[in-house]
């Protein structure tokens, strides 16, 4: 143990603790900008400098380990002066349009500047960072004039996702974070996961805002339908200031009706439908020596990643569409016929925890209803903004129920929102279909958790099924290599691009893994509360097959609920 004094208070901490961490234990909060609790220490913004007795210079608290007998001052006049001088340099490069910035109120720079009481005029000429505004991507807007070069997005994109479309270019004053070769983001191998937005402390990276388009459609008198993803009820409240893991399903339904949606549906329903199709596909491949391992394809960021980096392994992807796209196809066909609405008059909206869903709904494959199946996909943070814009006092909203018939989802559909959830949902159904027996214990604890790669082996009716669950695309590299080499030991693999799965998706309020743990706890609790917890027992799913689709993998299912993929290898050239 190391003994030191911080601002006059003695403390004992473990060796290897940084000054920043030690100070936190004493409830001393040293300001930071580049630091992120789930990322590597960067020590580049230098806002966290502190004074250490006996040292000439002011070391950065985030990167300096404590030493025995150290005497630290975290807010001496010398320290405060240095911090204000550094902040002044940053602000002299940063646009001062906070009021109309997408991060207004949630910007870390804004907060630190406010805390530092930046009350004197800036001594330097205002020179906003010279960078091209890039809204080419349907998911991510880059305004690098706001970038403070903290390097968080670079780490998220390269270390966590292995995509590497963000890197520093130029040097010194001219340094910028950009995609390679001056490309626009849409022309790169960016998978639209939005993990860069999650870590961006300022408004340099933000979600492509599609809220205006929804108002336009309402105004145009369209028949507005909306589906909300399994994780939205878990994460939306957080965007409105609630604690992580606060579940507000009924309030969200109510708020969506207030905003102007005619029908509010639950993507849990099509999550169940996905399990019916994907589970059947898996059984079919198992029993007919089809291509294995089968890999889930409900995550559009992962699908684009596979199309780009695993372009020669696409036959491993399940042909089942994602729940969002199944919903889109069903609403403009079955639902439209049933309700006698011309599908061209329907505006089908989805609320997703995901920025890549914006890309997915625009894919040319997804026009099986004869129209774009899902018209507009918005993220959780956009819905939170719409709720505020509408003046809805969320706290006081009474719970309301989803609309029938697509308002019913099982617990299996619900847990789609977490890493491991799709696998568990599939196993619940596969087990019962294969054995004809009822599962005694529905929880497959082996597939739960937050480790980057988890594996499990189950024996169902004498047959061993080996599965793997992967989240964070960097972790999928090895898995793809195994498949390429023909040495993959697995039969079935679930891949989610974002760490934590959809509850860690790029369209939520900024996450930390500590928050993701809370969200994950909440999602499994929701599963437990639901009366139906297996996809094949969802009565409305059964009804849909009876009335319309026939059976899983039927001709109609194939047309509406399955798709194909194509190589995007060219993006790497």
């Amino acid at each position: 143990m190391i003994h030191l004094t911080i601002d006059g208070e003695p403390i004992e901490v473990k060796e290897g603790t940084t000054i920043l961490e030690a100070a936190k234990l004493l409830n001393v909060h040293i300001p930071t900008l580049c630091h992120h609790e789930d990322q590597a220490v960067k020590a580049v913004c230098r806002i966290c400098v502190v004074e250490v007795e006996g040292q000439r210079l002011l070391p950065a608290a985030c990167s300096t380990p404590v030493t025995e007998g150290m005497v630290v001052k975290t807010a001496s006049p010398k320290v405060i002066k240095a911090r204000k001088n550094i902040m002044e340099l940053i602000l002299a490069r940063h646009p001062q349009d906070c009021l109309v910035c997408s991060k207004n109120g949630s910007c870390e720079l804004q907060k630190v500047a406010k805390d530092l009481n930046m009350n004197r005029p800036n001594r330097y000429e205002m020179q906003v960072r010279d960078a091209r505004f890039d809204n080419s991507s349907p998911s991510i807007v880059r305004d690098m004039s706001k970038c403070i070069l903290c390097n968080r997005c670079v780490e998220a994109c390269s270390q966590k996702q292995g995509v590497m479309v963000m890197a520093k270019e130029n040097r010194g004053f001219d340094t910028v974070v950009v995609p390679p070769y001056g490309k626009l983001l849409a022309d790169t191998s960016c998978v639209n996961c939005g993990q860069c937005i999650q870590v961006c402390p300022v408004g340099a990276l933000s979600v492509h805002d599609d809220t205006e388009r929804i108002y336009e459609q309402i105004d145009a008198g369209k028949y507005m339908t909306v589906q909300i993803a399994p994780s939205v009820r878990i994460t939306l409240a957080e965007s409105l200031g609630y604690k992580p893991g606060t579940v507000t399903t009924g309030k969200i339904v109510h708020a969506l009706r207030k905003i102007g949606f005619h029908k509010v549906f639950d993507s849990d329903f099509t999550a169940d439908l996905t399990i019916m199709e994907e589970g059947t596909e898996f059984l079919h491949r198992m029993q007919n020596h089809g291509t294995l391992p089968l890999i889930t394809s409900c995550c559009p960021a992962w699908v684009k990643y596979c199309e780009t980096y695993g372009y020669d392994q696409l036959d491993h992807l399940s042909t089942a569409k994602s729940p969002q796209q199944m919903f889109g196809a069903v609403i403009k066909t079955f639902f439209a016929e049933k309700e006698k609405i011309d599908p061209k008059d329907i505006c089908s909206v989805s609320v997703m925890p995901c920025t890549a869903k914006k890309f997915e709904c625009r894919r040319k494959e997804f026009h099986d209803s004869g129209f774009q199946d899902v018209d507009i996909s918005i993220t959780v943070v956009e819905l939170a903004k719409m709720i505020r814009t509408a003046g809805i006092h969320f706290e006081d909203l009474e719970d309301q129920e989803f609309d029938a018939p697509f308002g019913l989802g099982s617990g299996a559909g619900q847990i789609f929102g977490s890493t491991g959830g799709v696998m568990e949902a599939a196993l619940r159904t596969v087990y019962e279909v294969l054995t004809g027996e009822t599962l005694e214990k529905l929880e497959f604890m082996q597939v739960r958790g937050l480790e980057g790669i988890r594996e499990a082996s189950l024996t169902i009716k004498g047959q061993e099924i080996r599965v793997a669950i992967v989240h964070g695309l960097k972790n999928v590299e090895g898995i793809l290599e195994q498949i390429k080499a023909g040495t993959s030991p697995y039969h079935f693999i679930e891949v989610m691009a974002c760490e934590g799965g959809c509850i860690g998706g790029g369209g939520n309020a900024p996450k930390t893994m500590a928050k993701v743990r809370e969200r994950q706890r909440a999602i499994y609790e929701e599963d437990q509360k639901l009366p139906i917890r297996k996809s094949h027992e969802n009565i409305y799913v059964q009804k849909l097959y009876e009335e319309y689709l026939g059976e899983p993998l039927s001709e109609k299912s194939h047309k509406l609920l399955h798709t194909t993929y194509h190589s995007r290898r060219d993006l790497l050239r």
């Binding site: 230098r46 002299a92 070069l149 010194g172 004053f173 340094t175």
Partner: protein, 426 residues
Amino acid sequence: MEEKRVLLRNRGKIDPENAREYIAAGGYEGLKRALNMNGEEIIKELEHAGLRGRGGAGFPTYRKLQFAYGAPGDVKYIVCNADEGEPGTNKDRILLSSDPCSIFEGMAIAGKAVNAHVGFIYLRAEYSYLVPILEAALKTSREANMLGENIQGSGFDFDIKLRSGAGAYVCGEETALFESIEGKRGEPRFRPPFPGIKGLFGKPTVLNNVETLANISVIFQNGWEWFRTLGTENSPGTKLFTVCGNVKRRGVFEFPMGINLKDLIYEVCGGMEEGHELLAVQTGGASGAIINASQIDMTLDIDQVSNSGGRLGCGTILVMDDRNCIIDIVRNNLDFFRGESCGKCTPCREGGTRLYQLITKISQGKGSVKDIDTIQDLAETMRLTALCGLGHSTAVPVLSSIQNFYSCYLRHIDKDYCPVCSEEGE
């Protein structure tokens, strides 16, 4: 005054490409001696010799070896910092081109001390024309079994690889140099961990300047007692000085540590040209302090220069006569630093350019006393908070020039005509 040629003993006398000639002149004897010593003994010898780094910081060389020696791990590296980028400095180039084997010898001895088997020479990109000389010297050294496997039958293996960057000054900073060798963008890392524990490719690494390594060879060839007879108590040995600027005789000179700066300028280099007076001297390269003519009676050893507020650094002496303007010199300095900032940390990335803008404003006669205050305030913040030495040292010439040439700043603010700045102005 006569030069004392220790490191430059072979300059012009042997074929630098031929290790046999180096050996005939007594070369690699130090390595042979070290091969019979264990790591602790080698480090002890260097401790007794009192050798301090010649790259700029003057850190005791034996301590660097000690860190890597004590660090756990089977793979360790020796790195020679030949990224000589300090403006006006040529001393490493002279060593590399005239006696490269003395550097290899020092690396091999350091390798023996810490049990490293691979050495890297990180050669300044602009020195790529030296590659054929170095490759030839490496080849002939291997042929003489002074490098390679089982050196002189001792069972110790050591070989050296050449690497080069793309010309960034910051890559002379040890951790940025590692990043560059690793194939990444040349940006410094924060410390700790120090290179002795976690350096190149994450392994314990000993990094030394070219001149330091050449000193290791002569210490082991002649013994530490001999080495101690040269130089001063706290800075034993000789030093290569690069004198540039407005003196009659410019070049690289070798003298024992402790030579007087005034003697170096007037006795060795012949003083100013006729009709001109000394204005200022900058010691230690672009990152050194700028002193005025009344301050040059100064002993040149590592501690005494730093006691007087500057730094000996790599031993570069830039002499300026009355044809120069301090503001112009500082502006030139800052132009260099803002261009060489890697952009990683805020104070250096933003501050370097801001200092340049402010000094430019002053040089154009548009400045105010407030601007001088801002310069001082910002330079001090950079010195205190920047991530690496580049950001810290940007402040040194600025702050020292304000201290030692305040009247010059005031003249520009009072818009007195400055022939130097006005030529470049606007």
